[in-house]
């Protein structure tokens, strides 16, 4: 019976202040939508980046003058390194074949080259992409490696790429989090303002409730429900939009760029749950704030 009373009071209040209610619902919608979409994107990027990071390799080019025995010894040394997952030897001939393949249709270019100037090399795949620096520096001073004097250009590794990938992920994460935090604050304040208006609109009821001895919680409940319903309405709309966006936008991007995004890796169920819970929390937070500040019992 009481729950019904609270519910109907909350609904009538929402309808009476519909402009503010809509504003609050839309803010919750926007913040929760961005939170949800951001999470989906985050998962996608994380997958893509971890693929990219895992494909980071170190290429070590040998001097053409190095003897095959020494080269083989180095290969065994590399294989013995604990950070190395896999090592592949590319002989002079392999290198030339690869070049030829990549020049398909323009083979005549190769005719200008006499003999085979390409050096043999090792392609090292790492267990942990973070150890790329450590492994690469080991070859900087190796006499077998084809470094020009004073440089390490015989060792090719994607130091910059790896750093960029890391920093882009970090900026993306920080920026997104900051944005969502701001939106969450805005939602809480707007909900709190909505509740404040409805406290004001119903000050007479509140006064009478106090006089006839309604308990404090009895007076508070309709306002809390109003806030929670506002939050949940916004979250529900956000969920609908997120699912829609996930179906149409992201999936189409994924199908166009399958090398970058992978489907089926986003925990949609959890995102929906988080968004709904988030909206509800925003609602109760907002009404709690308003009740503390404006409802004198």
């Amino acid at each position: 019976m009481q729950a019904r009373f609270f519910f109907s009071e909350a609904i009538s209040s929402l309808v009476k202040n519909w402009v503010m209610s809509v504003a609050a619902i839309v803010t919750v919608l926007v913040s929760m939508f961005i939170l949800g979409l951001g999470t989906i994107l985050f998962f996608n990027f994380q997958n893509a980046f971890s693929d990219l990071r895992n494909s980071l390799r170190v290429e070590v080019f040998m001097k053409n003058t190095a003897s095959p025995e020494k080269i083989q010894e180095l290969g065994q040394e590399i294989e013995a390194m604990p950070e190395v997952r896999d090592v592949e030897f590319i002989s002079k001939e392999d290198a030339l074949n690869k070049l030829r393949e990549s020049l398909e249709g323009h083979e005549d270019l190769l005719e200008a080259i006499s003999g085979n100037p390409l050096p043999p090399s090792y392609v090292i795949t790492l267990r942990d992409p973070d150890s790329i620096d450590l492994v690469a520096t080991r070859f900087f001073d190796n006499p077998l490696v084809d470094n020009s004097p004073g440089t390490h250009d015989g060792v090719k590794y994607a130091k910059e790429t790896s750093e960029k990938v890391l920093s882009v992920t970090t900026y993306f994460f920080i920026g997104g989090t900051g944005f969502v935090v701001l939106l969450i604050l805005a939602s809480i304040l707007l909900i709190s303002n909505t509740i404040r208006l409805s406290i004001f609109a119903r000050r007479r009821e509140v006064e009478i409730m106090r006089l006839v001895g309604a308990t404090n919680w009895f007076i508070r409940w309709p306002f809390i429900m109003e806030g929670v319903m506002t939050g949940m309405a916004g979250a529900a709309a956000a969920v609908a939009l997120i699912l829609l966006a996930n179906n149409f936008l992201i999936e189409s991007v994924v199908s166009k760029m399958p090398f970058f995004f992978k489907t089926g890796t986003v925990p949609l169920f959890w995102i929906v749950l988080i968004v709904i819970l988030g909206g509800t929390l925003l609602g109760s937070g907002g009404s709690g704030l308003a009740l503390r500040r404006f409802l004198k019992i």
């Binding site: 019976m1 009821e205 009478i208 006089l211 006839v212 001895g213 009895f218």
Partner: protein
């Protein structure tokens, strides 16, 4: 029923609401609280309702010391006090019956009790025919009757009326006074703050006169003067 023991209430360091008030009102008594605006009548009433605390002294209502009362029990204290105000304090978007029922509903009474009690009390105040009208369709006197009905529907042991006839013409006022008198006859203590000289003189009940926050006169079967 009500004991004010050396009660003072200061709003600001300079503004005195009540000063050293000692009043003892017995159960079942009818007492008028008279005095000019700003003499402390409203402070007296709001202290009774525990809307705020006295600066000094102790207030006891129905055997309970209000200073020792926990915040959470204040609502239950108020359920034992009916209130009638000059401006009626009715909800204009609810019917007469719903206005009275509201007092029962917000104190968590079952719907069955509400359906039984509301028509009963409205008959008692003479508004049985107007249960489903909204307050705006009623005369001022009738609206005040609704307010009295709401205050009395829980059968409180104390009824407080703050200038209940302030907005009413003399004839209508008599009707409200008769209603309050009848309620008093059922054993309910009634405290009524008023400016209505004629009414006080006619009733010859206890009169407590306040001026600048002090009790300047307290006599049985008194006059307004």
């Amino acid at each position: 029923m009500i004991i004010f023991d050396h009660v003072s209430k200061m709003y600001d360091p300079n503004i005195m609401g009540l000063e050293d008030v000692n009043v003892h009102i017995e159960r079942g008594e009818f007492a008028f609280l008279v005095g000019h605006s700003g003499s402390g009548k409203s402070t007296f009433i709001r202290l009774l309702l525990k809307e705020f605390e006295p600066t000094e002294g102790t207030i006891t209502v129905a055997g309970r010391n209000l200073q020792r009362m926990r915040r959470g029990t204040v609502p239950y204290h108020r359920r034992n006090i009916g209130c009638v105000f000059q401006d009626f304090k009715l909800l204009s978007n609810k019917t007469v019956a719903d206005n009275v029922a509201y007092a029962l509903r917000v104190t968590g009474q079952p719907e069955r009790t509400i359906r039984r009690k509301v028509p009963e009390i409205l008959q008692l105040v003479g508004l049985g025919e107007k249960m489903y009208n909204i307050p705006d369709e009623l005369s001022a006197g009738e609206q005040q009757r609704v307010s009295v009905a709401r205050a009395f529907v829980n059968h409180p042991s104390l009824l407080i009326a703050d200038e209940p006839t302030g907005n009413l013409d003399p004839d209508t006022s008599v009707g409200i006074m008769q209603l309050l008198y009848r309620i008093n006859r059922t054993g309910t203590t009634v405290v009524m703050a008023t400016h209505d000289r004629e009414m006080v003189d006619k009733m010859r009940k206890r009169v407590i006169a306040l001026e600048n926050g002090k009790v300047i006169r307290d006599e049985d079967k008194g006059l307004y003067r």
